[in-house]
Every structure is written in structure tokens, then in C-alpha cells.
């Protein structure tokens, strides 16, 4: 087989998303945009993990008429990264929700979403 394998596109996209998210977190001043940067990093990591679990020519790890149990070992992609990513998505959602509620609190007390207005703990 020649050419670039299909999963490396997903891998490259995931890595690019991580870098874009990191750039956003480092350069943006608005707290909401920093949280969006975090969410991008999160999504990028999920894409990297799923694409690493891909097996050449594999299909979804669900046993049915198309993929009988006897052939499953040779025809499905690795179910483990998918399961781990499912966990990671839920944890990421929980972390994002807590970050957003911190943003709401900061906006309530300071009437501003800029990180420059929270400079007490800056070194």
C-alpha cells in the first residue's frame, strides 16, 4: 500500500488542534476564549488517541451480521482507545463546566472577563 495512511490525517489534525488551542490559551486575554483554547486542546488529544487506535482496514468494534464474532479479531479497530476517549470526553466536559462557572464568578465580582483584571497572583 502506498501513500499516507488515512489515520495519519486524523493524527495531524489532532496535533494541529492541540497547538492551536495552546496558542489560544497563551495569547488570548478573554477568559472565555482561553476556555475555548482548552476545549480545542482537549478535542485534539481525543483525535490523536482515536487515530492511534486505528488498525489498517478496520471497522467499528461492534459485532453484528457484517462482522461475525469469529472474524472480529482481524476486522475491528482497537476498542480500548475509543473507551478511554469516551471517558476523557466526559471528564473534559466536567472540567470545562467548572472553568465556565469560575468565569461567571469572575465576571460577577469584577464586571470584566479580561485576565488582566485578575493580576493579584501574577508573578
Amino acid at each position: 500500500m502506498t501513500g499516507i495512511p488515512i489515520s495519519s490525517y486524523a493524527l495531524a489534525t489532532g496535533l494541529a488542534l492541540i497547538l492551536i488551542g495552546l496558542w489560544g490559551m497563551l495569547t488570548r486575554k478573554n477568559i472565555i476564549r482561553m476556555i475555548i483554547g482548552f476545549a480545542l486542546v482537549d478535542t485534539g488529544i481525543h483525535m490523536v488517541m482515536v487515530s492511534i487506535g486505528y488498525v489498517t482496514g478496520g471497522t467499528a468494534p461492534i459485532i453484528d451480521a457484517a462482522v461475525p464474532a469469529s472474524e472480529a479479531v482481524h476486522r475491528v479497530v482497537d476498542p480500548l482507545p475509543s473507551a478511554l476517549v469516551l471517558t476523557a470526553i466526559v471528564i473534559g466536559l466536567g472540567v470545562t463546566a467548572v472553568m465556565l462557572s469560575f468565569a461567571v464568578r469572575i465576571y460577577r465580582t469584577r464586571n470584566s472577563l479580561s485576565i488582566d483584571d485578575c493580576a493579584e497572583s501574577k508573578w
Binding site: P5, I6, S7, S8, L11, A12, L15, I18, L19, L22, W23, L26, T27, V48, G53, Y54, V55, T56, A60, P61, I62, I63, D64, A69, A72, V73, H74, V76, D78, P79, L80, S82, A83, L86, T87, I89, V90, I91, L93, G94, V95, A97, V98, L100, S101, F102, V104, R105, Y107, R108, T109, N111
Partner: protein, 235 residues
């Protein structure tokens, strides 16, 4: 200026770490050893057609219990952070009602969205989907309700009862696994049934129903907290 250089250097260093992963990446031709075990033994051992489900609910069930706990803690944290002080007004009172179109569409769609969520988590062992996905769909139904009727009060008592009862039953099912089968969260406490049918895979459908209810209730309460907190700044 220094800050911009520092940002660029940081990004380049992170990219250098990743470049090795990307440049030397080769697609694996066969499953790894653990994946091979799950694919070969999963269907006959646990009876779940969806291998990802058998990994999440049974082989790595303890991880999932931890995950549900993290979600619970984050929902509790959101509730703590966004609680209103007594002098703060509920921002809902100043919000205009949604338009007739949104309200009518919501009345039509909400039962269907809930039904679809329930379908997704009941069939989690057969089709792509499961408790977390179904719970998220149910929460999106709650979101639609919140958008169409800003003044509607969700019953925190019902949400709290659903959430804590399903969490408690989840742990009880897990402990029953120690008593009746091979270990904590073992799904073989019930007959495995005929492979590929709705009533199969032992306790996996029950656990996924519980997870679906719990996740739906938790995400719903998070959405409700954000609704009553939005714009409610101190004055």
C-alpha cells in the same frame, strides 16, 4: 515582545515533541495484545455486541465509576460556584419568553429527544451509543426546555433523587458482582441471554440505564445552574 517570543518558543518546543509521533507514525496492521483479547474474548465472555461497551462497563468498569464520580463532583462544584446570594436577583425574571415558534417546536420535539436518549442508552450494548451519550441527549432535551420556557422551574428534588438513586443502585449492582459473580461490576450476575438481542449481556443494559439517568440528571442540573446564574451579577 518578549512574551510573543516566549509563546512562539513554547509552541515550537511542543511541536517538536509531537513531530516525532507524527513523522514516525505507522498505522498498526493488527490489533495490540490487549485489544486482541477484548475483541476475541469479549463477545463470548460478556455477551455484549458493542466491544467498546464491554470495555467501558465491565473490563474497565471501575474507571467508569470514577468517571461518573468526577462528573458528579464537577456538577456539585458548578452548583457551589454559581449559587446565588440572597440579595442577588434571579436573572430569569427579567428574561423575555421565547417566541411562539420556539415554544411549539419545543413541545413537539422534547418528548422525541427524551425518547431518543432513552433508546440510545438502552441499546448501548448493541449499537454505537451508551449511557453517557444517551444522558447527553437527554440533557440537550432539558436545554431545549430551558431555552423555550425561561421561567419554567426544574424540580431539583426530582433531579437530585434520580441522580442519587441511580448512582447508589450502580454501586449496589457492582457489589452484587462480587457476591454473585467474578468481581466488582461483573455483568454476569444475570443470564447473558441470546447474543445480539435487547435482553442480553447480563447487567450491562441495567448499568447503562443507570448511567444514562445519572448523566442526564447531572448535565441537566449544570445547565439549570448556568441558566439562573447568567447575567446575575452583583449590584
Amino acid at each position: 515582545m518578549i512574551k510573543r517570543v516566549a509563546v512562539i518558543v513554547t509552541l515550537l518546543l511542543v511541536a517538536a515533541i509531537f513531530s516525532d509521533l507524527l513523522l514516525n507514525y505507522t498505522e498498526q496492521p493488527v490489533l495490540g495484545r490487549l485489544g486482541e483479547y477484548y475483541a476475541a474474548k469479549g463477545p463470548s465472555e460478556l455477551g455484549a455486541a458493542n466491544l467498546v461497551t464491554s470495555v467501558i462497563v465491565t473490563y474497565r468498569g471501575l474507571d467508569t465509576l470514577g468517571e461518573v464520580t468526577v462528573l458528579f463532583i464537577s456538577a456539585a462544584g458548578v452548583g457551589l460556584l454559581l449559587r446565588r446570594r440572597r440579595d442577588e436577583a434571579d436573572s430569569r425574571e427579567t428574561r423575555p419568553a421565547a417566541s411562539e415558534i420556539v415554544q411549539t417546536a419545543a413541545q413537539l420535539l422534547i418528548p422525541m429527544v427524551f425518547l431518543f436518549g432513552i433508546y440510545v442508552f438502552i441499546n448501548g450494548h448493541l449499537t454505537p451509543g451508551g449511557g453517557f451519550q444517551g444522558g447527553a441527549i437527554i440533557a440537550s432535551g432539558i436545554m431545549l426546555l430551558v431555552l423555550s420556557q425561561p421561567l419554567a422551574a426544574l424540580s431539583h428534588r426530582v433531579i437530585g433523587m434520580t441522580e442519587s438513586l441511580s448512582g447508589f443502585t450502580y454501586v449496589v449492582v457492582g457489589v452484587l458482582g462480587i457476591v454473585l459473580a467474578g468481581g466488582f461490576l461483573d455483568n454476569r450476575i444475570m443470564a447473558l441471554g441470546r447474543f445480539g438481542t435487547l435482553f442480553s449481556a447480563g447487567a450491562i443494559p441495567i448499568i447503562y440505564i443507570l448511567i444514562g439517568l445519572k448523566v442526564g440528571a447531572e448535565l441537566g442540573s449544570v445547565l439549570d445552574r448556568f441558566r439562573s446564574a447568567a447575567g446575575g451579577q452583583s449590584r
